[in-house]
Amino acid sequence: MAAVTTTPRQKVGWGTANVVVIALALIPVLWMASLSFKTPAAILDPSFIPAQWTLGNYDQILSTSQFIHPLINSIGIGLIATVVAVVLASMAAYAVARLRFPGKGVLIGMALLIAIFPQIALVTPLFNIERALGLFNTWPGLIIPYIAFGLPLAIYVLSAFFREIPWELEKAAYVDGATPFQAFVRVIAPLAAPGMVTTAILVFLACWNDFLFAISFTSTISSRTAPAAMEYFSGSSQFTVPTGPISAAACVITIPIIVFVLFFQRRIVAGLTSGAVKG
């Protein structure tokens, strides 16, 4: 292990490592941003800074319902799936963290199984089921699988948060006259709020970024989400690749995530439980 004090050499070493990691992560994003501002003719220009800045790509995607409608779908489907998954998961996680019941181990095992199951293997059966049930190409057709695959992760993260909450708070609520449901809603859930926000972000990201289900279970822009819709962008001619509009669309769908995380960062980091018991 390194000593507590850092030598100048170590500082340089860590600095270099950090720069490399950040560069690896950011260069593709910046490249994408750069592409989104280039004119169609300059797409193949290898220079990083566009020779001629244009907002044409953004104009193009934001002026057609081919992108706007899927964007609305993405937001709507993502939010509904997230809210439902977090509410269900918080109840399940509470049970996992606090109660003893037969089959608890099996339940946790099943949740883990779902989390590691390869989604591609389920696309065909789910496709047939959704067609039979009339869910194909509808919002619920995406919301339901998103909830199913979001729940295991949500239960895991939330049960870790619930375990952190001192049990005596719950006992105190019972003695104060609360029913188990009241104790959960008025004492436990508010304290687990940072955990719920963290979980919500994770679940929302998974829904927002999903491409596999979005492309498989939709057929029109009435329910297609943004990542899938980008697949259907067309260039100015049949033989042009729509690189510019795709880059612009990718930038647009990245912005909400950045805002989301920046906005909730403090809440994720700050623990609400300080002061509950002797600190």
Partner: protein, 449 residues
Amino acid sequence: MAEIILDHVTKRYPDGALAVQDFTMDIADGEFVILVGPSGCGKSTTLNMIAGLEDISEGELRIGGQVVNNKSPKDRDIAMVFQSYALYPHMTVRQNMGFALKLAKTPQNVIDEKVEEAARILDLTQHLDRRPANLSGGQRQRVAMGRAIVRDPAAFLMDEPLSNLDAKLRVQTRTEISRLQRRLGTTTVYVTHDQTEALTLGDRVAVMRSGILQQVASPKELYDTPVNLFVAGFIGSPAMNFVGGSIEDGKLRTSLGDFTMSDQLRREVESEGTGREVIVGVRPENFEDVAFVSPSHRADGITFHATIDVLESLGSDVFVYFTRGRDQGGVASAELEELAQDAGRGDAGGSGDTIAARIDAETQIREGHDAELWVDGRSIHVFDPASGRNLSLAVRGNDGAAVIRPASPSASPSADTAAGAGGQPAATDTGSGEPVSGAGSTGSTGEAT
């Protein structure tokens, strides 16, 4: 306000472990009762069963005349103060204190009024809109108390409410709790592992060991007439000294000297049938520097010489410590071992080795020098090493005084010592409840009084 009756209450965990065994006790309306014992003795479990946070396996619990075994905590009308205070961190002090009333759908103006009043009593008025995280330890403790008193419940349950405070604040808060309880007159059950708290706070104290109730009595009675070795060793600070003793020719031989036993005590020892070995218990204050014992009293005890290892002067008192060889009868008992472990002393035999004595502050005794000490023969206790039972108790109860006289021939049956310091009548408190007739290892202690 209500009385609480525990009727043969037992807690058995699914794995078969017995946490509380056959606990029977009547707690009168308005009484302040302390449950005390070393950690793991089942005192908190008992409290949780009264609160309804743990199920009762067997027996019956009645609060205010109603059987509440199957009632949930919210239907029992009790308030609890937790060791960690368990304040709701996301609520202000005001909301914390009003939470129970709010759940009970009390009108908001009544809640405000009650919270304000409780805050005034507890000196929390200026902190009402702060959150627990911004309060000091003592303030948090008071908020926890406030949360209990705003409800005006049938009973208060307190689970080591002072153990998170520093020593000075603890003493201060202790008197505050005592005053508050007298003022409100609410039945209170208080759990602690600190015998000082138990003796200073309680109307009555219940001593528990391994899930079994040992003795219920007033602090004074508990101190003067412990029914067994465990209670004797647990109550009192510094603890009672124990030395081995054997009975030969009607005399009680100990490493301190020989005592003459009364016939009654001898019969008691013999009827126990556990042989001639006993454990003798002497409280530190039953020793004295011989120079301070008037000649007329000297005959009530015996004198002996000891080399003083350590001398501690507290101003008002002087404590001296000396050792007695273990070869002169070591003390071996499961109960003493448990006490030693509780006190953080791994070596159980140690309690028989070092003897603490409290003597007059004006003493000329010096550390490292030989000293002549006197031990009061009237107030020593004799225990059966096997069952732990206090054998001198039955005798003490009958004639109320001099049980054991020194073996010196000059000993006269002095009438003037009849009301000696240690010779309290054993059974004075009629409400003291029968100590549990045990299926446990300590054996039956109930008949002693």
